[in-house]
Structure formats: structure tokens, C-alpha cells
Symmetry: C2
Subunit: 95 residues, 2 copies
């Protein structure tokens, strides 16, 4: 028996929910690491931003997005939002 | 011998780069699924938006973010950006 389109959508949505859990836990782990860097930077009075590191990150992200069949413009947008949040957190730690 | 703070930062950055690969490939997989839903919706002339589904998604994301020690306000922001991109893609498929 062929699945109805409603059943197909439901199956895809179940996958999407599982992938969202992966995304959230991975982001949680990523902020755990960046918060540790933030503490080191605050303790050693290092600058919050590292322009060269950021450029390398964005270049790397665009390359992997192309491999992963993810729109690189969208990938850049998402990661710029993440990096901006990291810098805000690091600035708060300095105060 | 104690690691210098530069070595510690370098180690955390290597983890962050690996986590970014996970994020990008997971997002790639997520858009693969939402694109399949988009095709079904376009074929069957279904609406792009599903307000109830979105509300359930955001509620679920906030709950998981709290478990994952991820700022729920930030999680909501990121996922609203993702969901908005999905809806744009679905609208393009209808044309």
C-alpha cells in the first residue's frame, strides 16, 4: 500500500524533530566550549574578537556547506548569528 | 607541565570546528527533509505554513534547549531563522 502524503509528511517531521535535538545539543556543546574560551580571554585580558580566526571559520563553513548540500549563503548567515552571540557572551564575561 | 592558555584555546577551537561540521551536515540533512515536504506540499497544493506545527516545534526546541544548557532565547532565534528559510524555499517551489 502506498503511503498517503500526510503519512510521508509525518515521517519527515519525525526525522526533523530528531535532527533538531542533534542541533540543539550540538549548539549547547559549542557554547560550553566558547564559554571556556571566554573565561580564559577574560582572565588573561585578551580581546573578544579574533578577526583572522573568524575569516578562517566562515571560509571553512562555506566549504563544508557546499559539501553538505546546504545553501552557503544561509550557512554564513546562521554562523554569523552564532559568532555574534559568542562575542556578546565574551564581552559580558569581561565586566 | 601545565598547558598555556594559548594551547587551551587552540584545543577548544579544534572541538568547535568539529562541532561546526556536525551542525552543517545536520542542517544539510534537515533541509533535505524539509525540501521533500516542500515538494509534497507544492504537488498537493497544501499551504506553506503550518502555524500549529510551528508552535509545537518552538515549544519543543525551548524545552530541549533548557536540557542542553543552551540559552532558550537564542535557540528560539536560531530556529525561527531556520523555519523562515524553510518557508521561503517552500514558497519558491510553488512557483
Amino acid at each position: 500500500m502506498n503511503k498517503s502524503y500526510k503519512e510521508k509528511i509525518e515521517e519527515y517531521r519525525e526525522s526533523i524533530d530528531r535532527l533538531d535535538s542533534v542541533l540543539i545539543y550540538t549548539l549547547g556543546e559549542r557554547f560550553e566550549k566558547t564559554n571556556k574560551i571566554g573565561k580564559i580571554k577574560a582572565k588573561n585580558n585578551l580581546p573578544t574578537s579574533d578577526h583572522d580566526r573568524e575569516l578562517r571559520q566562515i571560509k571553512r563553513i562555506i566549504n563544508i556547506a557546499n559539501e553538505a548540500n546546504l545553501d552557503p549563503i544561509f550557512a554564513e548567515k546562521i554562523f554569523k548569528t552564532i559568532i555574534s552571540e559568542v562575542k556578546n557572551n565574551h564581552n559580558k564575561m569581561k565586566k
